[in-house]
Structure formats: C-alpha cells, structure tokens
C-alpha cells in the first residue's frame, strides 16, 4: 500500500511500473490531470489545498478499505497539493490484481470515494478570475449541517 500527499510532482509512469508484481495479471490506473479549461473557461493553473493530516489519514483508510472490499493485491493512492500546471497529475490511483474486474472496480471506487470524502479543495485560476471549485455533495452520513439547516432556517 502506497499513500502519499504532497507538493512533489507525481511520477505516474514510475509508480505504474513499481506497482507490478509477479502474481498480477491486471493493473488499472487512473491518472487525473489538470485540464486547460473547465466548461470552456480557460484555466491558467490550479491551486490544491488540504486539511493535510485528515486528508492523509482518510486516504490511508480508503486504500485499506479497497484492499478489504475487492480481491486485489495492492493499491497506490497519491494526491498532489499546491500549484499545478495544465497537464500535470493531481491524483494517481494504481490497483494491481490477479484479475481485471476487481482492478477496474477498485480503481473506480477509490477515485469516486476520494472525490467525495477526502478533504482537499482546489482554487481554479482562470484567465478571467479565481474561484473555489464546487465540490460534489458529501455522502449523507457525513453532512454535519443537515439538522442545523432544517432546525434553524
């Protein structure tokens, strides 16, 4: 299990090669990279920040949970922070497994769950302005504000 959160460039190709083991028949990779636009609006760069201690521990929990949920051998989960240029990798997930079905399923579950539960945010620096990217809604079980909203509005 390899879990990393930091400002260094993510060496996708190298991580992919290092994750292969002799009992593996399938490696599935998700490489999330910075697009040059969001919905047609031109992106200059992105700035990622995290609640670092919590994000890292959440990432470890996710990686460990993937190893329990799916019949896979190993997982790498890396997320970058700080300023990222167009084309650079923000998140890399590599899943190694004897069979391909589990590798795909685990890889997709990891990115989908990471994007909803790991406390990382990004500021999008567009040619014409700066905004915090709208996140996906939290899963119901971790929305603290629900009752507050209903009670006080």
């Amino acid at each position: 299990m390899r879990v990393e959160l930091g400002t260094a460039i993510i060496p996708s190709a190298q991580v992919l090669e290092e994750m292969k083991g002799s009992t593996d028949g399938a490696v599935c990779v998700f490489d999330g990279i910075v697009r040059d636009n969001t919905c047609g609006r031109m992106t200059l760069f992105l700035d990622y920040e995290a609640y670092e201690e919590m994000a890292l521990s959440q990432m470890r929990v996710l990686a460990a949970e993937a190893l329990t949920r799916f019949p896979i051998r190993d997982v790498a989960l890396l997320h970058r922070l700080g300023r990222l240029e167009v084309g650079e990798t923000s998140v890399l997930i590599v899943v190694a497994s004897a069979h391909r079905g589990a590798a795909f399923d685990a890889c997709r579950w990891l990115i989908d769950t990471l994007k909803k539960t790991v406390p990382i945010w990004k500021k999008e620096h567009f040619a014409d302005g700066v905004v915090w990217a709208a996140g996906e809604p939290f899963p119901d079980e971790i929305v603290a504000a629900r009752e507050t909203r209903e009670t006080h509005e």
């Binding site: 990622y48 994000a55 997320h79 994007k115 709208a134 603290a144």
Partner: protein
C-alpha cells in the same frame, strides 16, 4: 464573546470558501460546556450574514474524523468546517 467559567475552548479550522468567509484559517472559540457540533455551527453562523449557501452542504470533522451534528465537544477539540471537497480532477460541467 465573553468567556464564562462553564465555557470550554475549542480550535476551529476553516477550509476552502469558509477560510475566505471568515478571513482566517483557524481561531480559538469558547463554547458552552457540553456544546455539540450543531451548537457550534449555530454560534459561528450567527457571526456571518447572508452566506446561507455555504452552510447547507457543510461537513464537520472533530479531531480529524467526520462528526454528526449531535457530537458533543470537549475542551481542546479541533473542530474543522469543511465545504464540499473537490480533490482529484475537475468535475463535470453544470449546464
């Protein structure tokens, strides 16, 4: 806010848009003894005007774990206010 003998002090952390809204990354906050996450959110909410959107989808972590509204706080707790996360890559266009 005055501090009473029965208050306890927690450390509130702001992230994303909330950091901009409160114009600082963290601050100590005195809350009544036995205060919950919900109580604390109400106190903080009362200090801002008209920013209802950000409060709707908020999650709270107490000592780095997600915590529901009924969670009771203790002296020295780290209470983080988390807007919807947006790690990974950019999401879909909303049209």
């Amino acid at each position: 806010m005055a501090r009473y003998a029965t208050d306890m002090r927690v450390n509130v952390l702001y992230f994303g848009t909330l950091k901009d809204l409160f114009a600082l990354p963290h601050e100590p906050l005195d809350v009544p003894d036995g205060a919950t996450v919900e109580t604390t959110l109400s106190l903080l909410r009362a200090r801002t005007s008209k920013q209802s959107e950000v409060w709707r989808a908020l999650a709270v972590a107490v000592n780095r774990e997600y915590a529901g509204p009924a969670t009771v706080l203790h002296e020295g707790d780290e209470v983080a206010l988390l807007p919807p996360v947006s790690g990974g890559t950019q999401g879909r266009c909303e049209r």
